[in-house]
Amino acid sequence: MSVIGVRRARRSGSRLASAPLALVLLAAVCALAAAIPLVYLVVRTADAGLAVLVDTLLRERVLRLAANSVLLAIAVTASCLVLGIAVAWVLSRVRMPAGRLGLLLTALPLAVPSYLAAYGWLVVFPTLNGFFPSWFVMTAVCTPYVALPVAAALRGASGDLEAVARTLGRNPFQGFVAATLPRVRPAATAGALLVCLYTLSDFGAVSMLRFQTLTWGINSAYGASFDRNQAAILALLLVVLALIVVAGERRTRGHVVAPAARPVPLIAPRRGLLPVFAAIVLAAPVVGVVVPVAGLLSRLLEAETIRTIDVGRLAEAIGTTLLLALAGAVVAVALALPIAALAARFRGRLVNAIESVGYLGHALPGIVVGLSLVFFSLAVVPALYQTVVVLVFAYAVLFMQKAIGSARSGIEAVPNGLIAVSRSLGLTASQTWWRVTARMAAPSIGVGALLVAIAVMKELPATLLLRPTGISTLSVELWNRTEIFEFGAAAPYAAALVLLAAVPAFVLSGVRGVAKEEEL
């Protein structure tokens, strides 16, 4: 494999240097794992033939589905960016009563699967359907992907320049825009990328709210016509959209050299503004958590047949979910790290390609990734088919990009000077990686692992296809019960799922980190 074109990024200020071949190879192998669904889709599309491909893509309905997907993805990404940055600014710059609680609340929507959020809204307002409700619910569910990393970046960003801007006559908001916003841009765009890909691949919310996107088309191709080839063509279209998004994010990502952080004095808001700030912080948690959970609870109380909870079964599902989430997070991080390390330090076409492939899994609905791994495991490792090994691997393929983004920004933030010092003290490149880079980037890598763990807990379609026969996660049990309208029996599983996913969300919110800073 050629490493021509792989160059150390200019912005690092160091001489141009080629990426180590070993790292490139390792990252390429990891990217290959993420490329399995793509191979599968290409095989299926080839099976369909060129005529069917062209015919399908030119169907008016397919064009409409694609337009809807793009429209929703753009709208949700834009609103998440605006709301997420506003929330992050309030949480890190304004003296709010119970500010830490605000941070925790901001993380909570992460714990609610999109189908559950949409379902809860439908209970309260059964007439909801179409674009606007989908936009609304998806924005609430996705805002934490922007708000949390931006809040973390703001806590790390020095307020010095903002102070300078203010002495030049800017108000706090203008000062923030002029001096600090550029510094949180990488965190914000990385979050926006997750939001955009997640929206493209989501089926849960749009199916509940009846907004027909490509994922809707893919599911009905499987469900109504048993036409795998047509489903593959639509999924391939989704892949193309995702690649455009990933390329777009790379162009706007930007880079900051982290300056020494210095605490920023918090602004005491004028009285009249306090409710406004509170509304900004509370919007997503109320829309994404409070209303849906209240809706579910009301259905629970309405149901005449509240069955006794099978505690053993619930406990088993919780245990299975936890173990799978843990295993999924470990494998996803293991696959993501080489890609993140490469993308953080080097640039070039090959690096870009490897990183983009790593993002593919997230743009595809779970059913497509699930079927691609059925195809792959039966062809390559039939002995492992329908075992936990393939299931965990599928989670890693689906969610490794969640780990790539945060690990990359963590590794990027490790100053080159420190690495140079380490090398000059006689440590090898790999020793330096483990003792300096990995250690300093550990919190960011941990954030990625937590994001993966939450996503695994909520995952349904791939789990249904790949789980060993007889094994159930919380989301599978929940699906089992909502399928047959037993809300009374479903509620404990929904509650357990949201509570379980809220734990990593709580850690992600950085509440503990903030507490430590305040104690200092």
Binding site: R64, G223, A224, Y385
Partner: protein, 349 residues
């Protein structure tokens, strides 16, 4: 390598049978071991129907037969896609499907082994496969669900043709991506001809129905007063009535007149996968599904129509024969693609 092991086990059991048979004086001719089903006391079932409904039946079967069943639950569409992907490497021997469409798709892909006639003969023509590739297990009638607070029973149309009239504009709901709706439109095409079907779908699309993902969502919307009427399968109403209490149901059912495409009966069914062709346990299970015991279970738990003689339909339902459309063969409902093109033509899917 699961399959290799299964194959060698089958071979071992088969040769044992040959040896045993050879030793017995009363059976001078050894049975042809390759076509005689062999029991190993277990098999794997892919169930496209809900666990809460099927598992009690499995428990009963396991207890009675001593055969252990590995069940994998999923929805019919996903399991159908899974079986097509697995092909002849599937670990499953039996597929239990929510609708005839999935069974037809798998039969067309040559994934099923032919069922013995003593099983398929129990279910009357019109409610099972014509070539013995699968057997019908229960029946599901298409019905009109209406909001009893806005409509009286008399005001509910007796034919789906009424929904094509301007007076129904924006007042009703359908789930056009749903397999059961597409089966119904296919029946419309078969019974009334392509031209009439084209006209009906065009008029329906013109009437701006509310579009839902599935029957349950249509029912929920009627029950919440969002729409005045909808087209669904009959048992969804009974199931929700059991959960919420029949008195709390604002939605009520009306049965279109016999002969109307809106009143067709679709079936759930089971097929023996090619990998299970020699599996006596798998066959015994399919046999059990069309026994009176299992049929009664479906009647009691799901309010679906039983398909064998001697088991009564659930209370409150019109007799199954009254809904049987002699002009319609379920096998004719396979032309789903034409239906989908038609629905796509008018932007319904």
């Amino acid at each position: 390598m699961n399959r290799a092991r299964t194959t060698s086990l089958v071979a071992l059991a088969a040769s044992a049978a040959v040896v045993l048979a050879g030793c017995t004086a009363t059976a001078p001719e050894a049975p042809d071991a390759s076509t005689e089903p062999v029991s190993d006391g277990e098999f794997t079932l892919y169930s496209g129907r809900d666990e809460a409904l099927i598992q009690p039946l499995i428990d009963l079967f396991e207890e009675q037969s001593g055969i252990s069943v590995d069940v994998r639950y999923g929805n019919t569409a996903e399991l159908g896609a899974l079986l097509l992907e697995e092909g002849d490497r599937t670990p499953a021997q039996v597929f239990l499907s929510q609708d005839a469409g999935a069974l037809g798709a798998l039969a067309n892909a040559d994934l099923f082994a032919e069922l013995p006639a003593d099983i398929t003969e129990r279910v009357p023509q019109g409610f099972t496969s014509t070539d013995g590739s699968w057997v019908g297990v229960t029946g599901r009638a298409r019905v009109i669900v209406y909001d009893s607070e806005k409509l009286t029973e008399d005001e509910v149309p007796s034919s789906v043709d009424a929904f094509a009239e301007p007076e129904w504009k924006g007042r009703f709901g359908i789930a056009p991506t749903n397999a059961s709706f597409q089966a119904f439109v296919t029946a419309y095409r078969v019974l009334k001809g392509e031209e009439a079907a084209d006209k009906w779908v065009a008029a329906i699309a013109e009437n701006q129905p509310q579009i839902f993902e599935n029957n349950r969502a249509v029912l929920a919307a009627v029950d919440d007063g969002v729409i005045e009427a909808g087209l669904i399968n009959h048992y969804y109403w009974f199931q929700q009535a059991a959960e919420a209490g029949a008195d709390n149901m604002r939605a009520q059912l009306s049965y279109p007149e016999a002969g109307d495409p809106g009143s067709i009966v679709n079936v759930t069914g089971a097929g023996l996968l090619a990998s299970g062709a020699d599996d006596a346990d798998a066959l015994e299970f399919i046999d059990f599904l069309v026994s009176s015991e299992a049929q009664q279970h479906f009647v009691d738990e799901t309010y679906e129509y039983p398909l064998i003689e001697g088991v009564e339909a659930p209370e409150g339902l019109p007799a199954l024969d009254s809904l049987l459309n002699p002009e319609l063969d379920l096998a004719d409902l396979e032309s789903l693609e034409v239906t989908q093109d038609l629905l796509a033509k008018y932007g319904l899917i």
